[in-house]
Subunit: 325 residues, 2 copies
Amino acid sequence: MNTQEYYLDYFKTRLSRFLDEVKSEPKYLYEPVKYALSAGGKRIRPVLCLMSAEMFGVKAEMAVDAALGLEVFHNFTLLHDDIMDKSDMRRGRPTVHKKWTENIAILSGDLMSLVACRCASKTEINSKAVLDTFLQTAIEICEGQQYDMDFETDDNVTVDDYMKMINLKTAVLLAGSLKIGALIANASQADCENIYEYGRYAGLAFQLQDDLLDTYGDAKVFGKPIGGDIAENKKTFLLINAMNLATGNAKSELLSWLSKEDFDRTEKYNAVKSIYDSMKIKDLTVAKIDECYAIADSYLQKVSLPESQKNVLRSYMDSMRSRNY
Amino acid sequence: MNTQEYYLDYFKTRLSRFLDEVKSEPKYLYEPVKYALSAGGKRIRPVLCLMSAEMFGVKAEMAVDAALGLEVFHNFTLLHDDIMDKSDMRRGRPTVHKKWTENIAILSGDLMSLVACRCASKTEINSKAVLDTFLQTAIEICEGQQYDMDFETDDNVTVDDYMKMINLKTAVLLAGSLKIGALIANASQADCENIYEYGRYAGLAFQLQDDLLDTYGDAKVFGKPIGGDIAENKKTFLLINAMNLATGNAKSELLSWLSKEDFDRTEKYNAVKSIYDSMKIKDLTVAKIDECYAIADSYLQKVSLPESQKNVLRSYMDSMRSRNY
């Protein structure tokens, strides 16, 4: 079995060949594509796809174009989400619409989405099923992003609504990455579905962890400043639960912070966090994360392979789980 | 042989079934899709695809999903182009970003592009070649749109640059529509290439006609107000040639109109048009259109089918050619 570092390196080699082959003209169409894709990141989706393919018995090489499509698509969604969220920075650099213009960001994103489809369509084994899974996942991600935007002006978002949104926006792409690897290895339908569900629950856990780290993470290792979600009243798992559980003074204090237009960021962060603390929101979130990982693992156990063959994937997911970035 | 009205009706029936099946949630994702696709239009691309498929020997039914993909993709490009051009109206109605928001327009466009790929991927015959042609065409359209935007701030656009831009932005999609129909009918490679080139040159003629009508059309029948290109200093075939040919007073008068920030629209239109008239720009454009149609027809002649089987397509293109809208 290969290690997780092997899959990451293998993917990076393919990505850098792809970047070398990107056309140079029109410059303002292709430069942003190169810029967006060379910003780094954990490359989780392609790594999952390659791992899954080898786990089910084919060489990573067979799945590397699909893996590239998944990474290009993911970066397309970040690029357009940054326009919609008016985010100025991504991974320590100006976002595409800030570095160039909004029009350039719209169009180069449109191109990336098509290029991603083209990469996904190159797969030779089970190509129809791979592309169907890819497009279904891509469409669901758009749905998730729309729900996320809807939530900004909706004061009645429930925990169920939230879980449905992160399922679409985040979890299905991790799930789809694993399933695509499995399809390329011609895994059975049951194995494809089980590995998909495994990825989906791990993806939910992954997003909940992101929510948790945004409030409780260590600024030194987290990739962005702590407390962004609190500053923006972002309806995360933490805030939605706090709103449900708060009563009396805690509730009115929380509502008052949410309605403040002018505030000191640190003061708001400390105040809201101490309301969260008083209601054990951190424990509640950790419990939900543990639950999702447990369900995920139950699906991985159903996959009809010797447990030893699942170890690379399991240890990769464990490293994601224990991350503090 | 079926008539052009038959193909249009056949497509409209499929489109309306598609629209009935569009999901209802998330509302702000799917409503704009229905709105954009129900605005009407000539449905040229799907009609060409269906005609080509039957001309080469299969039933329209075999090509109708691909035809739908082509129309959905075309409407996606209009939707995003309208954001980029800040256009408020399209086919007599507010554009999606005006009716809803720019974010909603970005995301529903993203979705349409993916849905278009899904439709194109449904074709069973020659599915790999169909999808490759579809994606290649789609990517080229993004390139064409980028060149078009680049031209806005480029004072050295040549006629060749312009022809290259409209080839990518407009012509390749008509060409691709015909080729996809041919691929679905399992036409020979030579026939696929000849029908593609036919569509490409007809597409160039088609765009040049649009340029001509924007200045010389009849406001009563043209879908939008006459003179928009002149008002906006749009670098069309007419303006680029006028800039090349003008000398002396005509040149300085033209430059002076191009640099005016405040002007009466009718006055500018009449002045620029009379400069065009003095240089016979209309005749020059008509000659170029005739040339493109002649080259187009030379490719159609090479298609290895009895001339009688090409008549529906030829008469459809003739009706496009004699349009004044």
